[in-house]
């Protein structure tokens, strides 16, 4: 007998223990018995794709997602979301707080999930039409209204502070392409990268590679965004833990680098000078 308040789900079903209606005897994901079969027989990425897409993925799809997860797992301390987590870790904050800061900073329009969402939306709009891409990348907004998200300041999927594609990203793209469908987004990106980078005067970034991989996996912008946020957390976690152990004395404190352009000086001194 359900209570007066129910939740609806199209993919998750639970059967209660006879002795306790709040405890599950069995849980089913898109019809599959999770604890009876899926955990024993599926890999982590098969299960992820099953949850997100509703069907057992083909083996090559699970491999592509796993390889993408490896690419995204740790972008290093320079990456803003990891640096945010490190700022939490160094002060021995809650682990969840460090990861929350990684999620928040990793959500942005410069290298974050919001940029990735725009890339996936543009894939839906532009497909493999390079001229359409060139046009939409210059004006990717959906409409003229203001929003809680500001307008993106560079062609989405490109790094305006980059000169040429970093070797690590090129290696990632070339590796992912090996596991991607031949007529898919990653292959197209690999072929068109040079022309697009020349056109915009800057290299592609990790968001365009990740977006193409998610498109090849048949994931939409919302699903891709969630996975992008999740799959970047391992590096944030480990770097946060490392800085926690390393200690704050070895961590940058930028105070001396911050220069106040219009410093009015100490208050009492001004008081005396002003004769107040």
């Amino acid at each position: 007998m359900p209570s007066d308040y129910v939740y609806h789900s199209d993919f998750w079903f639970e059967e209660p223990e006879e002795s306790n209606p709040f405890a599950a005897k069995a849980s089913y994901c898109h019809g599959y018995d999770v604890y009876g079969q899926v955990i024993a027989k599926a890999g982590w990425f098969e299960y992820l794709l099953l949850m997100f897409k509703g069907e057992r993925p083909r083996p090559d799809e699970a491999v592509l997602l796993e390889k993408l997860a490896l690419v995204l797992a740790n972008q290093g301390p320079k990456e803003a979301s990891i640096r945010a987590a490190m700022n939490g870790g160094v002060a021995a904050t809650n682990h969840s707080s460090a990861l929350m800061s990684a999620l928040a900073v990793g959500s942005g329009l410069y290298g974050g999930s919001q940029e990735l969402e725009i890339c996936i939306r543009l894939w839906e709009e532009c497909g493999q039409d390079v001229d359409r891409w060139k046009s939409r990348l210059q004006a990717p907004e959906e409409d003229e209204r203001a929003d809680i998200w500001p307008a993106i300041e560079h062609p989405p999927g490109f790094d305006p502070n980059g000169d040429q594609i970093p070797t690590t990203l090129l290696q990632s793209l070339e590796l992912l392409v090996q596991f991607a469908p031949k007529d898919g987004a990653l292959h197209w990106l690999q072929k068109q990268r040079g022309a697009l980078e020349e056109f915009f005067g800057c290299p592609i970034s990790i968001t365009s590679v990740a977006a193409a991989a998610f498109v090849d996996l048949g994931l939409d912008r919302d699903q891709g965004s969630m996975l992008y946020l999740m799959l970047r957390l391992p590096g944030a976690a480990v770097h946060a833990l490392e800085q926690r152990k390393m200690g704050w004395k070895k961590f940058p404190f930028y105070s001396s680098a911050i220069e106040l352009e219009d410093d009015p000086g100490p208050f009492k001194q001004r008081d005396e000078e002003g004769g107040r």
């Binding site: 789900s9 599926a42 220069e259």
Partner: protein, 265 residues
Amino acid sequence: MNHEQLLETESHWLTRIGKAFLTERVVMHGKDLHHELDHLEWLHLYLYCILGKDPGENVAKMLNSYWVGTSYPDPSIWPNHVAALAGSVRTTPSLGLMAGLSISEASIYGRRPEVRALDFFYRAGKWCDEGGMLADFVDHEKSLGRILYGYGRPLATTDERIAFTLDKAKEYGFSEGRYLKMAFSVYEHLNTTYGYSMNVAAVHAALAADMGFSCEEYQLILTPCFVAGMAPCFRDTKSRREGSFFPIRCESIVYHGREKRDWEG
């Protein structure tokens, strides 16, 4: 080389926002925090921090009424529900309240409707400045399939905050502004034509337009505005049996998906 743009700020950040000269003094937008801003109420200071200037007592009081008027100690409201769950599972206040605040940046309540409503009034004002009729602007927006934030309400047909806010607007001298009048003209048109109600997001945004805030300023100003209602929700569940906040039984997850199937099938 594009990367050369980064060299300038690698070890140097020139700013005018202020600085904490630790052990000595703190400057905030050109004023000494502990000597020149110490008289301000915290919310007034918050406005000064965002705007870089003091908007004056009446603006601060008007906005204070937004915060006060949306401080609901009710865990049925979704951001508060998150704070209540946080208390129920015994996590920390910062995690619970910040998680609640972060989901206040939602599309059907909170920050997106507020920003979109303010932007709507500015665009409507420009339309009218260029000689257009307000009703035509509203109909044009409707014809584009756009949600008119501030009009209609997901869970109710009236909004108890409107009369409260209008009283405050009168008290602090904002009841005759151009955009507030526009908000009611839009309501009359939408109500007559489509049967829409008006909610406080329209009134708040119109008053914000009359006070002259940009959308970014307005979003920052309202970011903490639900937090006062979350604290009691957190404490209420924290003081009760752990895990006892509206528990969900298996059968309360109503399933509409695929029939059971075999992984090997």
